[in-house]
Symmetry: C2
Subunit: 152 residues, 2 copies
Amino acid sequence: MSDEAKQTDSCVDFGILNSLLGYRLRRAQMNFFSKFSEVCSDLGISPGLFAVIAIVDRNPGLTQTAVAQALGNDRSAMVAAVDKLEQMDIIERRAAKNDRRSYALFMTKSGEQFFSTLSNRVMEHEKAMAQRLKSDKEVDWLLDALDLLAKD
Amino acid sequence: MSDEAKQTDSCVDFGILNSLLGYRLRRAQMNFFSKFSEVCSDLGISPGLFAVIAIVDRNPGLTQTAVAQALGNDRSAMVAAVDKLEQMDIIERRAAKNDRRSYALFMTKSGEQFFSTLSNRVMEHEKAMAQRLKSDKEVDWLLDALDLLAKD
DNA sequence: TATTGTTATACTCTATAACTATA
DNA sequence: TATAGTTATAGAGTATAACAATA
């Protein structure tokens, strides 16, 4: 490898990208995503599926559309997700009481146990990442800042 | 709509998701992404293409592989990106001096002008988002925090 | 008419493997 | 043998449109 080529290895000027929240958000999120996958891939759970489980766990009886709206997804994306989670015996569809068009989503018994294990893993990962910041105060501050940037 | 169903609209408990940096990062990044698209879609530039242009603008003569490594992408993804940017007369491939396998990437004259316009738009968008935070100090702090979370 | 779940579809982004021409 | 660019391909994620059953 020539010296000229070697320059390209680590001396790249990121210019405007360095000052862009959007770019840094993307890099940070991509890192979180890949780390999450490492931690949870053997359990067959992606970040998206984790979010669905977390919502159903805390809000038993929600419809598929309601979960989709909460997560900012389209209803059509819920079908495959709930199919998979039902196949894994984590979530179950039950006929809704007042509306025969919709299903109510509930955790199964084994699903609750699974989510407990899963949450512990995710929290460990989260803890390791949060420790890169100086204090718990800074983590809270970051959570608030990200919330501001997520709105509309 | 029944009262029972109405509950699902905005009274969803996000549980553990609320305290997860990973989830909030995802929501914030998705918002940035869609806003960026609104601002730049008429120019035919996605966040990914913008990053490529920004790197080439500041580092003329880099190879495709070097740009890919800087951005954390695979080389194969660069082909279509550079094809499009070359078609738009923003970037051009030139034969590399010492290595006939590789191209050196450079901005075209019109590309530099285009990037100037583009950067102004992106900076406006960025400014609007940054103003959601309390001060410039907080923005700098956030940039540093995101940088910490993006590493390995 | 409007809404729920569903299906089909497509589009983007991304990663992998294999090929070629060079090194 | 190793690397740069390329191609083909496949997977995940996401969004749109249309349909049947139901409201």
